[in-house]
C-alpha cells in the first residue's frame, strides 16, 4: 500500500473504490440520501458507466444478470428507505443463488439515525438474513476499507450479496483516501481445506460402484470447474445430470449428459436416482425441488458430496463421504485416482427411459401436431437459429421449466434464471445485465405474460441504453404454473390465474422496440429468424396453447421415482 493519501470526500471515495475493484458498470436509481455519490458518478462517467433502471428491483436483477454471465461482481446503487427496500427481493435472490453482488445504499445522516427521519429504514436489519455480509458506514474514513471488504467477501468462497449502507454525512465528509484491496478476514475462511483422504475414499467408492450417478449444480460454474467435471465424467463414464442452476456447465449434446433432475427434470435421471448405487453430488445443495420427499430419496445409494460450503454437508441428505473444497481443486484431485470405465449397461437404462420420455413428452412438445403452439417448439426454433450459443435468460413459471428442459447450451455461464427464490420479474432486467456482461453474445430472454408485467418498465432501460436483448414472451394468458397446479391439485379452480393482458406489441413499440406477434405455427420460424438476425433489441410475442402443462413432474411430497409423464 502506498502511504500517500489524498483528501477527498466519502462519495468520491466510493466511486474510486469501485474503480479500484474493476467495477466500471453499475446499475441503480438516485434519490436524496445517495445524491453525493451520484454527483461523483457524474464526474466519473467516462470511467464508470451508470445504468439508470426504472425501478431498484430492475437495477439489482440487472446486476445479477451481469454477474452470472461475466463471473464478476455485480454492483447496484439505491437510495435510503424505499430505494433500499426495493433491492431486498434481488438480494434474497442473489443470496439463495450464490450470486456475487455489492449493493450500496444511501442512508439518512448519522445524527438522524433512529429518529424515523424521511426515507430512513433499518436496511441493515432488514437485509441481515439475506446478505452474506452487510455493514453501515457512518464515518467517511471507513468507506474504502468497507468497500474493499465487501468485494472480497462477495466474490470469495461461496459467493453472495453484500450490502453497504452509507450515511449521507459520511458521503459528504472528507477523508484521507488510500486504497488497499482486502486479501483476508480473520474470522472467514472462504475455501475450507480439502482432506486428501476424503478424496481417496470418494475415488474408492466411485471405482467400486456398478451404477454411479453424478448430479452437478452451480458450484461447478462458480468454481470454474467445467473442464475438471468433464475430465471426471469422461474418465469414469458416469451418467451425469444437472440441477437448474448447474445447466450449461456441460454442453447439452455431451454423450454423458443425461438431462435434468428434479420436479420437472427428465424421466430417467429422476427414476434412476432411486436405483443408482452411488450418488455423486457436485456443487449442489439438495434443494427440495431436486429431491422430492427425502424419506425415499436415493436411500439405496451411498452418497458423496463435493461442496465448498461445509454447512451444506448433511443439511438435507446424509452423506457417506464429504469432499470439502473448491470443485475446481477437488475434482482435479480425484481424477488421477479414478479408473477408466464405461458403464454401458447402466447408461442404457437412461437411454431406455429417454425413449419413453421422448415419445410421451418431448416429441409432442418440440414437434407438436396439435393446433395450439407449444413453448417447447418456440425454444426449439430459437435453438436452430442460435445453435445453442446464446445466453438464455428465463423468468419463473412454466416457460422457465420448458426453457431449462429444451434450450440448448454449448457454453458455460449461459443459463440465467432465478433458481432458488423463484422471483417472477427477474428475466427482463437480468437479460439487460447479461447483455452488458457479454456484449458480443446473443441474449434471449424467455418470459411468461405474468412475470413480464412485473418488471416490463425496464423496457425503458433498453430504450435508454440500447441493450440488444431479444425478448420472447410466451403468452398463454394465464399464470401458467399456478394454473397447472390448480388443474392437477385444485380441481381446475382457476383462482386469480386468468390474465387479461394489454397489447404487448404496442407496449414494446412505445419503447421503440421492434415487435412481432406470432399466433400461427407457420409464422414462427420466420419471426424467430428475424429476431435473431436483428442487431437491435427485439420483442417477440408467441400465443401459446392456453392449458398446456409441463411434464414430467414430481408432485410436491412425492418420491423422485414417482415422476409422472402426464
Amino acid at each position: 500500500m502506498s502511504t500517500k493519501t489524498e483528501r477527498i470526500i466519502g462519495a468520491e471515495a466510493v466511486v474510486r473504490a469501485l474503480l479500484e475493484e474493476g467495477a466500471d458498470l453499475a446499475y441503480g436509481y438516485p434519490g436524496g440520501a445517495i445524491m453525493p455519490i451520484y454527483d461523483e458518478l457524474y464526474k466519473y462517467q467516462d470511467k464508470l458507466q451508470h445504468v439508470l433502471t426504472r425501478h431498484e428491483q430492475g437495477a439489482i436483477h440487472a446486476a445479477q444478470g451481469f454477474a452470472r454471465v461475466s463471473g464478476k461482481v455485480g454492483v447496484c446503487l439505491a437510495t435510503s428507505g424505499p430505494g433500499a427496500t426495493n433491492l431486498v427481493t434481488g438480494i434474497a435472490d442473489a443470496q439463495i443463488d450464490s450470486t456475487p453482488l455489492v449493493c450500496i445504499t444511501g442512508q439518512v445522516a448519522s445524527h438522524l439515525l433512529g429518529t424515523d427521519a424521511f426515507q430512513e429504514t433499518d436496511v441493515i436489519s432488514i437485509s441481515a438474513p439475506v446478505t452474506k455480509w452487510n455493514i453501515q458506514v457512518t464515518k467517511s474514513q471507513d468507506i474504502p476499507a468497507a468497500i474493499a471488504k465487501a468485494f472480497y467477501i462477495a466474490k470469495s468462497g461461496r459467493p453472495g450479496p453484500v450490502l453497504i449502507d452509507i450515511t449521507k454525512d459520511a458521503q459528504l465528509g472528507e477523508l484521507d483516501y488510500a486504497y488497499e484491496k482486502c486479501t483476508g478476514v480473520r474470522s472467514y475462511k472462504p475455501i475450507p481445506e480439502t482432506n486428501i483422504e476424503k478424496v481417496k475414499e470418494a475415488a474408492t467408492l466411485i471405482n467400486a460402484a456398478k451404477k454411479p450417478f453424478i448430479v452437478f449444480g452451480q458450484g461447478v460454474i462458480l468454481g470454474e470447474a467445467e473442464a475438471e467435471l468433464k475430465a471426471l465424467i469422461e474418465k469414469s463414464g458416469i451418467p451425469s445430470a444437472w440441477t437448474v442452476l448447474g445447466l450449461s456447465a456441460l454442453p447439452t449434446d455431451h454423450p454423458l449428459n443425461v438431462g435434468m433432475v428434479g420436479m420437472h427434470g427428465h424421466y430417467g435421471p429422476n427414476k434412476l436416482t432411486n436405483e443408482c448405487d452411488l450418488l455423486i453430488a457436485i456443487g449442489m445443495r439438495f434443494d427440495d425441488r431436486v429431491t422430492g420427499t427425502l424419506d425415499t430419496y436415493a436411500k439405496q445409494a451411498k452418497v458423496i458430496h463435493f461442496d465448498i460450503d461445509p454447512a451444506e454437508i448433511d443439511k438435507n441428505v446424509k452423506t457417506d463421504v464429504a469432499v470439502i473444497g473448491n470443485a475446481k481443486d477437488t475434482l482435479a484431485k480425484i481424477v488421477p485416482f479414478i479408473n477408466d470405465a464405461k458403464h454401458e449397461a447402466w447408461h442404457n437404462e437412461f437411454k431406455e427411459y429417454r425413449k419413453i420420455e421422448d415419445e410421451a413428452v418431448i416429441i409432442p412438445q418440440l414437434e407438436p401436431t396439435k393446433e395450439g403452439l407449444t413453448m417447447g417448439e418456440v425454444i426449439n426454433q430459437v435453438n436452430k437459429e442460435t445453435n445453442g450459443d446464446a445466453v438464455i435468460v428465463s423468468d419463473v413459471g412454466q416457460h422457465q421449466m420448458f426453457t431449462v428442459r429444451y434450450a440448448d447450451f454449448t457454453t458455460t455461464r449461459s443459463n440465467v434464471t432465478s433458481g432458488g427464490l423463484g422471483t417472477m420479474g427477474f428475466a427482463l432486467p437480468a437479460a439487460i445485465g447479461a447483455k452488458m456482461g457479454a456484449p458480443e453474445r446473443e441474449v434471449v430472454a424467455y418470459i411468461g405474460d405474468g412475470g413480464y408485467q412485473m418488471t416490463c418498465q425496464e423496457l425503458g432501460t433498453i430504450l435508454q441504453t440500447g441493450a440488444a436483448v431479444k425478448i420472447v414472451v410466451l403468452n398463454n394468458e394465464f399464470l401458467g404454473m399456478v394454473r397447472q397446479w390448480q388443474q392437477l391439485f385444485f380441481d381446475k379452480r382457476y383462482a386469480s390465474t386468468v390474465m387479461t393482458n394489454p397489447d404487448f406489441i404496442k407496449l414494446a413499440e412505445a419503447y421503440d422496440i421492434k415487435a412481432t406477434k406470432v399466433v400461427k405455427r407457420e409464422d414462427l420460424a420466420g419471426a424467430v429468424k428475424e429476431m435473431i438476425a436483428s442487431k437491435e433489441s427485439y420483442f417477440l410475442e408467441v400465443m401459446i396453447e392456453k392449458e398446456d402443462n409441463v411434464f414430467p413432474m414430481v408432485p410436491t411430497g412425492a418420491s423422485v421415482s414417482d415422476v409422472r409423464l402426464s
Binding site: 441481515a128 455480509w133 443439511k315
Partner: protein
C-alpha cells in the same frame, strides 16, 4: 431423535449486527433461545456468545454450521451439560424489615450458600450463583415472604475440554 438442552458457544469479532444475525438463525428454525449471554472472552477483542436451547443433535449440528457461516463468527461449538461447567446467577430483592422480623430468612440465606450484596433501610439484595435448580429452590423458599424483584442471568459455561480458539485464530 430426542431433544435436549445444548449450550452453544460462539466466538466472534465485535460487531453490533452479529447478535441480530445469530438470533435470526434460531428464529428461522423456530428454535426458542432459553438463555443468552454475551461477554468478552479470554482472547483480546474476541467476544463470546453463550446460548442455550432445546433441540435434537442433528438440529444443533446444522445450526452451528449456519452460525459458523456468518463472516464474523470465528468458531462455534455445542455441548451437552455433562461436557461443561456452567452456572447462572440470580438476584433477589427483599424488604429489609423481613430480615429482622422473620429470622428464618437468615437461615435460608445461610443454608443456601447465598450472599447478601447490599443492605439498606428499605431493602436488601441476595445473590445466588449455581445451577438453575438451586436458584429456583431459593426462589421457592423466599417467595412466601414476598420478593420485591427477581432476575437471573443467562447461563455461562466453560467446556471441560479445550476449544483451541487461540490456536485457530493464529492459523486464520
Amino acid at each position: 431423535m430426542e431433544k435436549q438442552l445444548y449450550t452453544i458457544s460462539v466466538y466472534t469479532e465485535n460487531n453490533p449486527g452479529l447478535l441480530n444475525r445469530i438470533a435470526t438463525i434460531f428464529l428461522k428454525r423456530h428454535i426458542n433461545i432459553e438463555s443468552l449471554n454475551v461477554s468478552r472472552s479470554e482472547i483480546e477483542n474476541v467476544h463470546r456468545f453463550t446460548i442455550c436451547a432445546h433441540m435434537t443433535e442433528v438440529a444443533v449440528k446444522k445450526l452451528v454450521g449456519q452460525i459458523e457461516k456468518q463472516i464474523e463468527v470465528i468458531k462455534a461449538y455445542y455441548h451437552t451439560d455433562d461436557e461443561i461447567i456452567f452456572h447462572e446467577t440470580a438476584l433477589y430483592k427483599i424488604a429489609s424489615n423481613l430480615l429482622f422480623d422473620k429470622r428464618e430468612i437468615q437461615n435460608i440465606i445461610k443454608n443456601s450458600h447465598a450472599s447478601i450484596v447490599t443492605v439498606n433501610p428499605e431493602f436488601f439484595v441476595i445473590e445466588k450463583t449455581g445451577f438453575r435448580s438451586e436458584t429456583e429452590a431459593l426462589y421457592d423458599e423466599l417467595a412466601p415472604y414476598g420478593i420485591m424483584q427477581f432476575v437471573r442471568t443467562g447461563r455461562i459455561s466453560v467446556s471441560k475440554t479445550e476449544m483451541k480458539i487461540s490456536e485457530q485464530l493464529k492459523n486464520l
